[in-house]
Symmetry: C2
Subunit: 184 residues, 2 copies
DNA sequence: TCTGAAGACTTCAACAGTAAAGTTCGAAGC
DNA sequence: GCTTCGAACTTTACTGTTGAAGTCTTCAGA
């Protein structure tokens, strides 16, 4: 039996995918396509890995994002929902909902700014801070493993090239906003 | 007025972010962090860019994903929902809904496999194929612009390094599945 | 051929995000 | 000192994804 092309195929390998692009759409530089496809696949895999780690701590990647933003903001470790939304690329409405949950879980606090009662201030709790720290520890181990095949010099070159690409898109797209969706 | 740290800050630059990590969590190799942070930011920006382009065609990135998978699958240009779900990293339930919409919009067809009536076959329509093609044309222009600052040799090195990283994660995480979330 | 088990998809209820319409407060002009 | 405008957040209704339960078909064994 069975020259059936196979119903059970899984995700094609990167090289198969590049070859398929050449077959179906010749106007595509395979070198460019390789960079772009590897970038999105890598990102997807990394998010899966982070998700497993944060799940062990009983939080989601989305919640970890909020904690990261608060810690990275520096000393008073407080930000308004609007600012948080900008940093995470979410709508303000989504931020409101996210904060609701995180307050209920004891990861952050929400209070009104007494100097300007239109504003709200979100702060990180002890528990939020400690979850952030554990997540960072796990993430740094994972990231070190991820890059283990690259020499120090290669890491530098890679970071530099990626930064150059990033500058390109950020110049073309200065507004941080924008809906997302996962792409392949 | 105003030594207030500022409510209106936007997303910090990559370098500011790296510096903040050094301040808050010294056990982090800044070189590693630069690579990782640049990767996720780049991905986010790229998805925003793709989203704008697909929106011009009246489809979403999610729908474009499905069209890509069908075209890349090759000749009969047909796949089952389960297989599609695996390739896109979605649950089967999400795939069912997505196909519902796309059938309603005339981008794909859904029929039962006559040889095995448990299975369903999703195929691409003329219109789906043509939207795919237009999206690819726009994407290839964007991607070429994105990489314009890199020489041919650099592009090769970048693709090769990213592939090496990808191999690392894929070995550690052979199952394609996994929920996602956008990370910073 | 009947029965049980497994596979492939769908349905359903709950959750997360978005857009657009509210609230509420602060600041500027009259 | 009112009134109007605008900013910051929230609410509401809707869209899309998930996990779990359900349906239908096939296949293997009795």
């Amino acid at each position: 039996m069975a020259d059936t092309p196979g119903p059970g195929a899984s995700e094609p390998s990167l090289d198969e995918q590049i070859a398929a692009y050449q077959r179906e759409f010749q106007d595509l530089d395979p070198q460019v396509e390789k960079v772009v496809s590897a970038l999105s696949r890598l990102n997807r895999r990394m998010n899966v890995a982070y998700g497993r780690q944060t799940a062990e701590l009983g939080i989601s990647n989305a919640e970890w994002e909020v904690l990261k933003a608060l810690v990275l903001a520096g000393d008073p470790y407080r930000l308004g929902p609007g600012d948080l939304a900008k940093r995470l690329g979410l709508t303000p409405a989504a931020m409101t909902h996210r904060i609701d949950r995180m307050v209920a879980e004891g990861l952050v606090t929400r209070e009104r700014d007494e100097n300007n009662r239109v504003r709200v201030i979100v702060g990180i709790t002890e528990e939020g801070r400690s979850k952030w720290l554990e997540a960072m520890r796990m993430a740094s181990v994972f990231e070190e493993e991820l890059l283990q095949d690259l020499s120090g010099e290669e890491r530098g070159r890679l970071g530099e090239m990626l930064t150059r690409l990033l500058r390109r898109v950020e110049d073309a797209q200065p507004d941080a906003g924008g809906r997302l969706s996962d792409l392949d």
